[in-house]
């Protein structure tokens, strides 16, 4: 890839001191002045991306409120099928994961490799736990009794005629959120293997910072979903 090598970390001229750890040997891509410059840019990019994420979900919330106004009874009826218990547990799980990912960033800054890796793993498993609870204790049960979106809805108990729509909203919102959690876990796995190689340290932790911010957004979205879906009846 002749055209891309110039952008890669090592300008041909630079003399390498191989004794240093990788993250200290890191050079910003050649179109940036230095690491700071690159770091700021990456951070700005991530923030913009998160802005789009927020807008995406706010579209979802917008739909939620409009239909809640149109069919309050369906939404109340539907909400009663959700177990606050599981919602609450999942909220706590995500809040803890938020703390761990923040810690991970801090350890990256201080170059504490051991705890950096530990926190990344913790966050990863928090995500896993969230999904496990969501799928095993919530989705699975609803699939069995037929509380499914739209035409797949075949719940037999007495229900408001518009509840299929509520389930559309429920599955839509939580589904899109869950898919974000899955992506997040992928990112943490990736971070973990890079951190094993010692890629991150005081001078260079863009990736950790970025993924961290992303994970916070995923949490915040859930913080909104939880009361809207589980609590407001």
């Amino acid at each position: 890839m002749s055209s891309s090598h110039a952008h890669s970390a090592h300008p041909p001229s630079a003399v390498e001191d191989l004794s240093k750890p990788l993250h200290e040997r890191y050079h910003a891509a050649s179109h940036f002045k230095d690491r700071e410059h690159e770091f700021d840019s990456v951070k700005m990019g991530v923030w913009l991306f998160l802005a789009t994420e927020i807008l995406l979900f706010s579209g979802m919330f917008c739909a939620y409120f409009i239909f809640r106004l149109m069919h309050p009874e369906a939404f109340i009826g539907g909400g009663h099928h959700l177990e606050v218990k599981w919602g609450l547990i999942n909220t706590i799980v995500l809040l803890m994961s938020s703390y761990w990912v923040a810690a991970a960033v801090r350890h990256a800054q201080t170059g504490n490799q051991k705890w950096l890796q530990i926190n990344i793993i913790l966050t990863f498993f928090a995500g896993a736990a969230f999904l496990f609870i969501k799928f095993f204790f919530e989705y699975w049960h609803k699939i069995q009794v037929g509380l499914l979106p739209g035409k797949f809805y075949h719940y037999t108990g007495h229900a408001d005629p518009y509840e299929p729509m509520w389930w559309g909203v429920y599955w839509g919102a939580t589904g899109i959120h869950a898919s974000h959690v899955i992506v997040g876990m992928g990112l943490f796995a990736w971070l973990y293997f890079r951190s094993r190689k010692g890629h991150f340290g005081p001078g260079h932790y863009n990736a950790v910072e970025g993924v961290g911010l992303y994970w916070h957004i995923v949490d915040i979205v859930w913080i909104f979903l939880f009361p809207l879906l589980y609590l407001i009846h």
Binding site: S30, S41, L48, T52, L56, H71, L148, G172
Partner: protein, 593 residues
């Protein structure tokens, strides 16, 4: 500054050994080189080719549409049975006798035309091709902020197009480019076409988010030393404004299309009245994106205009700051006028507010037009193909924009909504605005991009054909529109026949015009004479500091900005032949700054 300058030689040139065998080494290497490049210039060029191809495709659909409408149905009654003769699409699809079928073919052709032109052509057109190529050059950067993201967005665009093509070959969609529910969730039931097309639009959305995001960061972080916000070429301002809208509006269409896919596949009912949903809600969601996006379409067009007008008149853009801020004003206001597409949906009171704001958004556009015409004053105006296009833009976009005022006025829109008047309006702004500026821009930067000059004769002939053809195609549509000809009609009553025939002839003239351009460009690539670094005597960095075509990392030294982008009053354009360009005579009156 870390290393990386140094590799000289055009970004286009083959970097391998000079006697590499062609088939086994040179070709595969070159292909891989392009496919894997993260050089914004190469990505820009690849986009340019893809977009022009899609433009061709969409144009062909338009030609079919026009051919059909030239003489859709002459009904003759044979033995009591009405028989439809002359039905172009119909006959070529082998259903000449059958109105219903040929209507359906028409609807699909018309929809594909709209979808291709909007999602695959005009939205990415200028930013992804010229923007990608020029933005870093103009602000003196070596690349966009995130080159790999840039490559990704190119491949996302390809994947999106593939979905669109899949939908096309599996029969196409007949929803209209606006995908209005509940029709779009009911039609073609049991086929995946619609889902594919909507998915395509969804994916393309990401491509444009990535590009926009990349540009915003690039403009904020990568400007060369000495280039403040108001030393940027106005092209950059325009692309920047469009990029902001892309980043903020696209997610909403994303979720909307996602919900629509759910609706189609699971029937969750949110847009389906029979299940308690609200079909009009979709329209609100859709236009909340799609109105801002019309300014995503036009802002880059306006951006190109600045460069062509300034260089073509060798004048500083009159009222630089006004033009810069009007860009931001348009971007801002564009988010709160979507309701003007729904005046006749339910007759809501909110319509009044939307109407008022719609008129407001016209002002910044007006300001730009005025400033450009003022820029010509006391200039030294050339009439190269690209400047002809710049002047044509002023003519056509003014008509397009001014007719927007009819539509913004509530009572009149009750009559004009969904008639050909609207069709004419948006072709005058999209085709007569953006595409005209785009074609002009391609001519303008052609020497820089490919290092070859094009033939002015060929260019001028093409321009004349396009200009005449365009007005011939779309002006009659204003008339038949105000006379009540509804849009998306495969048939029409006799009284509109004349206008439709004129319109169709215009379309063929347009085709001829664009083909002339195509030939001119191909000829230039094959046999054009070598381009000097700064043929038009422009003052922006891509002309003054880079060679044509630029070297792999744009500049061999980090450019330092020593003069404004339009400082024609005091600076002889660098890299031009001595004596080729002169300075203006100092004005008699004192100049105010």
């Amino acid at each position: 500054m870390s290393a990386g300058y140094g590799h000289h030689g055009s970004y286009l040139e083959y970097k391998g050994g000079h006697n590499d065998p062609f088939w086994t080494v040179k070709l595969p290497r070159t292909i891989w080189d392009w496919a894997s490049t993260i050089d914004h210039k190469k990505i820009g060029v690849m986009y340019l080719c893809a977009i022009l191809f899609m433009f061709f495709l969409g144009g062909m659909m338009a030609i079919f549409v026009r051919t059909e409408l030239f003489n859709p149905n002459t009904v003759t009654t044979i033995a009591g049975k009405t028989v439809v003769a002359h039905n172009w699409i119909g006959q070529h699809m082998g259903v000449g006798e059958n109105i219903a079928k040929s209507n359906e073919y028409y609807n699909r052709t018309m929809t594909l035309h709209g979808v291709i032109m909007v999602f695959l052509v005009i939205v990415p057109s200028v930013p992804a091709s010229l923007g990608n190529f020029l933005l870093p050059l103009m602000i003196g950067a070596k690349d966009v902020a995130f080159p790999r993201l840039n490559l990704l967005s190119w491949y996302v665009y390809l994947v999106g197009s593939i979905f669109a093509v899949m939908s096309l070959v599996s029969g196409g969609v007949d929803t209209g480019w606006t995908f209005y529910t509940p029709y779009s969730t009911m039609t073609d039931d049991g086929y995946l076409r619609v889902v594919w097309m909507v998915t395509a639009a969804f994916i393309l959305g990401f491509s444009s988010i990535f590009t926009g995001l990349n540009f915003v960061v690039t403009v904020h972080k990568l400007r060369a030393p000495g280039m403040g916000w108001f030393d940027m070429p106005l092209f950059v301002w325009g692309i920047y404004g469009a990029a902001i809208i892309q980043v903020l509006a696209t997610p909403v269409i994303g979720i909307t299309l996602l919900l629509m896919i759910f609706e189609r596949t699971f029937h969750i009912g949110i847009f389906d009245p029979r299940m308690g949903g609200d079909p009009v809600l979709f329209q609100h969601f859709f236009w909340f994106y799609s109105h801002p996006v019309v300014y995503v379409m036009i802002l880059p067009g306006l951006a190109i205009m600045n460069e062509m007008i300034a260089t073509g008149a060798r004048k500083p853009i009159f009222g630089y700051r006004a033009v810069a801020f009007s860009t931001l004003a348009i971007a801002g206001i564009s988010f709160i006028v979507w309701g003007h597409h729904l005046f006749t949906s339910e007759g809501e009171v909110a319509a009044v507010v939307f109407s008022a704001i719609t008129f407001l958004v016209a002002i910044p556009s007006a300001v730009k037009i005025f400033n450009w015409i003022a820029t010509l004053y006391k200039g030294s105006i050339c009439l190269n193909t690209w400047n002809l296009y710049a002047l044509a833009f002023l003519f056509l976009f003014s008509i397009g924009g001014l007719t927007g005022l009819f539509l913004g006025s509530l009572a009149v829109d009750m009559h004009l909504h969904d008639t050909y008047f609207v069709v004419a309006h948006f072709h005058y702004v999209m085709m007569g605005g953006t595409i005209i500026a785009f074609i002009g821009g391609i001519h303008f930067w052609w020497p820089k991009m490919f290092g070859k000059m094009y033939s002015e004769i060929g260019g001028t002939i093409g321009f004349v054909l396009v200009f005449i053809g365009f007005n011939l195609t779309f002006f009659p549509q204003f008339v038949m529109g105000s006379q009540g000809m509804p849009r998306r009609y495969a048939n029409y009553v006799e009284e509109y026949h004349l206008y439709h025939m004129l319109s169709t002839m215009g379309a063929y003239t347009l085709l001829a015009g664009f083909l002339t351009h195509l030939v001119t460009f191909l000829h230039s690539l094959a046999a054009g004479k070598k381009a000097p670094p700064n043929p038009w005597g422009s003052l922006t960095l891509e002309w003054t500091n880079a060679s044509s075509p630029p070297i792999e990392h744009n500049f061999d030294h980090e450019p330092v900005v020593v003069h404004g982008p339009y400082d024609y009053d005091n600076v002889i354009p660098p890299q031009t032949k001595p004596g080729e360009f002169v300075l203006p005579r100092p004005a008699a009156v004192a100049i105010q700054h």
